[in-house]
Symmetry: C2
Subunit: 221 residues, 2 copies
């Protein structure tokens, strides 16, 4: 049963992987929140006021106080509501959680996005090479059903980019032969009831990536 | 008096700001450790074994277990040894600590390094503009003697890049007129006994940055 938490609002955009990460964390803990949709390219004054530096979703507002940056938000959620922990309780394991989560953002998300957004074939090939190298490290790291063991944790949530980009790339990013453990993980992750409930439709994901590409191509303000 | 901690080794390179961050954290807590010097461009097998992904210092090895990435190491230190906390005890303030620390790494360190390393004048001017915009956010954020209040905390340690780059750039990066609070903070930070004791000499800093530039320019392995 969901705990009712007052004054908790998530500013997001449908299809944004960074927003989905926060939603999964809140739902895993059974925390109710209000969701406010922000339009990419036409963000509200409220959003700009809460996140004047990065001007991006997600922003989580708890009792009037805004928090931005998805990894920072996830740690805040985990420290504020103790049920169903997302990070490990052991300091060394927690360091590894943070290390791999940052690794995924730095070394997987960036080249994966390039494989989709960059038209130049040579650059795209270079990005695929980088992505494969990074995925191989993750493949070797995956020891259990999930990175978090038998349940979804901090690294699993960070890694949602992998099946998501795989969907957007029409399953052309990697094969089950090349990364059998990650392939199996992707299926288990997608079939988790909370993930299933939270993931946007394929159409919504495509629409988001299209809008994001347009917003990246637009002159910065 | 320093607490003696067995089996704690820091792999570093003299002059590396990321290593200095870890050293300041350990010294603020009075933790003794063994220091092993790594040579940029000719890293030891041990280092490559401990940090095969980023192939960089610092690596902290505690009871045989390696931790890399300076922000991850700082959090590990703070969670493992409770004396003289580096991060705030309040979850929201801790979220802000993490936010600003990441902000400094993303938005200050990168353009500040460009102002020093990039020969192209136009690109350098663009980097200075980006850096000033970021420093203005920090200037507005500084409310007390230190970002951590009356004592050095997580954000102060992250921000050591500012006076350090200012030194390397022969005090040409910014003026006290433009950023009076950051200027005052730089002085207070440098005069803190632990920082004073830890900071490398100007010659060591220059030697590090020269080696780093050479290692960045070399073809990647």
């Amino acid at each position: 049963m969901a705990a009712i938490e007052e004054e908790l609002t998530l500013l997001g955009s449908v299809g944004s992987p960074f927003v989905i990460k926060v939603e999964i964390a809140l739902k895993l803990k059974g925390i109710e929140y209000k969701y406010v949709e922000e339009k990419l390219g036409n963000l509200s004054e409220t959003l700009l006021n809460y996140n004047p530096i990065y001007r991006m979703v997600p922003v989580l507002v708890h009792k009037g106080k805004p928090i931005s940056e998805s990894r920072v938000i996830l740690e805040y959620i985990d420290e504020t509501w103790n049920q169903n922990p997302i990070l490990s309780s052991d300091p060394y394991q927690r360091a590894l959680d943070r290390f791999w989560s940052k690794f995924i953002d730095d070394k997987c998300v960036v080249p994966a996005a390039k494989t989709i957004f960059i038209p130049d074939e040579k650059e795209r090939e270079k990005a695929i090479e980088e992505l494969y190298e990074a995925l191989q490290f993750l493949e070797n790291e995956l020891k259990d059903k999930f990175f978090g063991g038998d349940k979804i944790g901090f690294v699993d949530i960070a890694a949602l980019f992998i099946p998501l980009f795989q969907e957007v790339a029409e399953k052309q990013l990697f094969t089950s032969d090349k990364f059998p453990k990650l392939h199996k993980w992707s299926q288990d992750f997608y079939n988790h009831p909370v993930v299933k409930e939270t993931m946007p439709s394929k159409e919504q994901q495509f629409a988001y990536f299209k809008a994001r590409a347009a917003s990246l191509a637009a002159p910065s303000k």
